[in-house]
Symmetry: C2
Subunit: 477 residues, 2 copies
């Protein structure tokens, strides 16, 4: 079953019936099994997330000890809950989990998240316990996420099984990017970072050892999720390679999928075995599989965020001809270098478009491509140059470099950029680098759906991804 | 003279007598020619920098108009100044500059910065004017930086010829990294960014069209500057290729030199011609020349800052064997991948060192390499593991991954890291990613001279550069 042994086939394979994962993200009744009165405990934090934050449903603490949890009297077992349970979250010690999972099965709980660790990842004894979970899941036809995971965070329904308090790990705002991660620690960093950066997330799932629900089930679910525009995955190893490819091929026609695959080096592969206990396969095979699946492989966390932002806000870019407009010559030169390195073309701008620009720019501006408005550029010069390029059929996308250090640039330029992006549907990204004055404007642009990068290479690479996704989207079959 | 035509020779070439540039950075008497009473004008801002900020010397406004500048009565010409002038800063329109420069020659001004633009970069007419400057410089044996530049900023003497107000472009704090840039706009972004990030700078020079002083003169000067530990350059084209190589070979024995070279693509080369009017040569030739010179070429701005911070605070790393210590498995795996990609070795840790670590870590921690202390790691576990690796002769450097999201990590870990770095002289970098709670600790680490990166690839690449510089430093002849 390991992808290492997989012969990649170009044929389309139908995959097994999709699981309905809706109860994980939109439950009406939740049981937190192991909910604790002790404020430092994981079971307390998770219960509190449901009981005292934005979650609109009902939540039951489950604990054999009778001490009330935040004023709620616990029931002894999930079996005592007098109504249907949509989601059970289990946070008890590993050895107690099989019995509890069986009770969830008897209760016909629709979905179960097992946060607890101490399974496959700790060795033989844990693997035995994990096998019991697998058997119970099949016996009772349960839907299970975990064990050894952070579980689910949904910015819309505010389902939040994350056991880390908000001061340690922020919760991101609503958005249209979904994150799916095998590693919990990786997930916690991503959430914290996204929250800090004002990066919008739709759904987040850390699925850990994947006793049942895995990345393919989640991809298929997110495919149909209206709130998700981009799917981002962190993967160490995949067990269902063929399904990954076929699901990717289908989904990538309508939604871009990004994947950060760790464990590519020999030594890194060994490390994943101690970590999630999954077998990582030869790296080249993954690359080939991703390519066939239309999954965009990213090299690092920065690319993951950078590309997500572009894909979540900009249309795909079918052609590769871009215009670069700048008020700093050096940045324009660098952007041109990076464009060539990333397969984008910075062609001479047409005479007609140049003429339009000439009317509103300075006599010593350079109107070739990159268009250098010089350090004397004003917002009005940017407006007219951007509009001329937006109207040019020979230009597929724009990189607007906005350096706010020169003296004539004022805040109006930000408004121009936002208005023109709304008026024309052409892909556009901004590069803006510097200190606080820059940050203020960068934030406004970002909040208005204009992806803004601090360096020209990151901006160019984001444009190149819009081109790459257009190619994936237009593939036949 | 263009590097494009240069046949690279492995022989050591003596270069012409070095210029004494001390008057640029440490003048006692300064004349600002074109100093203006109008607060919006460049000549006002620069005069104010000298008159009202930290500069300890004397400053004269020079302007034919008698209106006082910030209460100082201007003299009509530099010739009227009753004492020796160490530094003249010229900010008047291009066509007036030759006459003014001649007056500086007659006055035997020790150093001249020409901020004014409108020379070679605007075409033929400007090139003619620039030739006049060149002739005058030779005739009067002047030392000239510029024209078409930002000039000089020295964090120690507070010489500040930057005409951008601080709210637009911050001034960085004192430090030991010197920046030399051909592009002014690039320089302004770098300064603003450095100020924002708390990045310490010794000297900054934007030298523009380089009618006289060029990057080689500046490299040679900074070689002997005690306050500078790392030299960073932004270059579009170099005219004195042989000298660049020989100066680099000499300087890199004692100080690392980083260079961001723009204009590497065909289209980018054309763009540099409109920008600074310099001829950029074939990119491969530059790469070969840099290699021979011991100059480390960086691919982008991020690498430039990342590598500077490592080289400014950590010793060179003669071997390539590193230990990775982490509290997040996924980050450990990724770091291991990046290590292999960047020529670093993540070998199994010796039994002796493992035994030391076993005494103070959790039974389910992984003590191979990467060392995964797991999400249950405490500061004490980090302390003991780091110390064990510091004492291990088979480990050349450390990457400490500190994720602050897990619940048991407290602020004490930062103190441990700082103390151990001071106690042992081994290179160490930290990777720490997340939101505000992380930022607080990252800042403390950075201020204590521990380079701290948000992603594992950036941290690994910084360690790899410490290894690369050790190799450059140990080259023969």
């Amino acid at each position: 079953m390991s992808i290492g042994k997989l012969k990649i086939e170009a044929i389309f394979i139908t995959y097994p019936m999709e699981k309905n994962l809706d109860a994980f993200f939109n439950p009406k009744t939740v049981a937190v099994i192991g909910a604790s009165a002790d404020a430092g405990k994981v079971g307390h934090i998770i219960f509190k997330n449901f009981a005292e934050e934005g979650f609109a449903g009902k939540v039951y603490p489950v604990n054999p000890h009778p001490a009330p949890v935040l004023g709620h009297k616990p029931v002894k077992s999930v079996l005592e809950i007098p109504e249907e349970v949509d989601l059970a979250v289990i946070v008890t010690p590993a050895k107690t989990v099989p019995k509890i999972l069986a009770e969830c099965g008897q209760k016909k709980v629709k979905s179960v998240v097992i946060i607890s660790s101490g399974f496959k990842e700790i060795g033989k004894e844990g693997a035995k316990l994990e096998n019991q979970l697998k058997e119970l899941t099949q016996k009772y036809r349960l839907s299970v996420i975990g064990p050894n995971c952070l579980g689910v965070y949904d910015t819309n329904t505010e389902v939040d099984t994350l056991f880390l308090p908000a001061y340690r790990m922020g919760r991101p705002q609503k958005g249209n990017v979904a994150f799916v991660t095998q590693s919990g620690a990786f997930g916690s960093v991503i959430l914290d970072w996204a929250a800090q950066e004002g990066f919008g997330v739709s759904k987040f799932v850390s699925y850990g050892n994947a006793v049942d629900v895995d990345e393919i089930d989640l991809m298929n679910y997110l495919h149909k999720d209206e709130g998700t525009k981009v799917i981002v995955m962190y993967l160490e190893g995949a067990n269902r390679a063929k399904e990954l490819i076929s699901a990717g091929r289908e989904i990538s026609k309508s939604k871009p999928i990004l994947c950060l695959k760790a464990g590519s080096s020999m030594r890194g592969m060994q490390a994943t075995q101690s970590h999630t206990g999954s077998l990582a396969g030869a790296d080249e095979i993954y690359s080939a599989a991703f390519k066939q699946a239309g999954i965009i492989r990213v090299a690092n966390i920065e690319e993951m965020f950078d590309y997500s932002r572009a894909l979540a806000t900009q249309p795909p870019m079918p052609g590769n001809k871009i215009a670069i407009i700048t008020d700093g010559g050096g940045f324009g030169v660098m952007a041109t270098d990076y464009a060539e390195q990333n397969g984008l073309s910075v062609q001479e701008i047409s005479e007609q478009t140049k003429k339009k620009m000439m009317k509103c720019t300075l006599p010593f501006a350079t109107l070739k491509n990159p268009v250098d408005l010089t350090g004397s550029a004003s917002g009005a010069m940017y407006r007219c140059s951007i509009e001329a390029c937006m109207q040019d059929q020979n230009i597929d996308g724009l990189l607007v470099i906005l350096l706010f250090q020169p003296p004539n640039i004022e805040s109006d330029v930000v408004q121009h950029v936002i208005e023109l992006r709304a008026k024309y549907k052409k892909p556009m990204v901004v590069c803006s680098a510097g200190g606080q004055y820059t940050e203020i404007h960068r934030d406004i642009l970002e909040r208005s759906g204009i992806p803004t990068y601090p360096t020209p290479d990151r901006a160019i690479k984001a444009l190149a991804i819009l081109n790459k996704y257009a190619q994936i989207k237009s593939r036949k079959a």
